[in-house]
């Protein structure tokens, strides 16, 4: 079952903050976050695992509330390069498939 992302779209000025939410109706085992720029393939941002582990390599933070079956991606002091479509992907079981939400389009303006 596909996770639900909100908002669907957001427009920011450089330097502003944004939060993108991802929720599921079923228990989650892990949450992935990816960013896709127009005409390009999605690029990995962050993994959050059940039990609290986080793995990422960009200056972006995220949270994973297992009880609420939700994850949030926090983009602070946004830069023009943050523009793109953000996807969360959820894994419901150990080693299971990754299903993506419908995406959140983020536009950062000068």
């Amino acid at each position: 079952q596909q996770p639900v992302q909100s908002p669907q779209a957001v427009i920011l000025r450089e330097g502003e903050d944004a939060v993108i939410n991802c929720s599921s109706s079923k228990a989650l085992y892990s949450v992935h976050w990816y960013r896709q720029k127009h005409g390009e393939a999605p690029v990995f941002l962050m993994i959050l695992l059940k039990g609290g582990e986080q793995k990422g390599h960009e200056k972006i933070s995220a949270s994973f509330n297992e009880k609420k079956q939700q994850s949030s991606l926090y983009l602070t002091a946004s830069q023009l390069s943050y523009s793109g479509t953000y996807f969360c992907g959820t894994e419901k079981g150990s080693g299971g498939k990754l299903i993506f939400g419908q995406g959140t389009e983020l536009s950062v303006k000068p």
Binding site: S30, E40, P42, E53, F87, E91, G95, K97, L98, Q102
Partner: protein
């Protein structure tokens, strides 16, 4: 090292013809996914291969779609009797399945650049 390679990058075909899309995953990656992305839309799951397990075909939209993965490496997605609604970008991704304190999880997915399929 080499990333995920997909071929062809573009394919134009006539309605009713069969097409084959190829994916070369990163060497050693045990998990392989096919997703479909229509213009301006999200990533629609099609099929998931993991090691020697039976593939998860739950996302294939009809029996015209099939996929195989030979020798745990290269994968081919076949669409028979193509329809105009099959037009989309078909993305392949591969990953390792790693162990955490609570079990197995997919490590970051590495995506290919996709095959843009146009059915006329």
């Amino acid at each position: 090292g080499a990333g995920v390679s997909q071929s062809p990058s573009n394919k134009v075909t006539e309605k009713g013809k069969d097409v084959e899309l190829r994916c070369d995953p990163i060497s050693g990656h045990t998990a392989l996914y096919w997703y479909r992305q229509s213009l301006g839309q999200g990533l629609e799951f099609l099929i998931y291969f993991q090691g020697n397990s039976a593939p998860d075909k739950s996302g294939l939209p009809s029996d015209r779609f099939s996929a195989e993965r030979t020798g745990g490496s290269v994968s081919t997605l076949t669409i028979q009797r193509t329809q105009q609604e099959d037009s989309a970008v078909y993305l392949c991704a591969s990953s390792l399945v790693r162990t955490s304190a609570t079990g197995l999880y997919n490590s970051p997915l590495h995506f290919g650049n996709g095959t843009r399929l146009t059915v006329t």
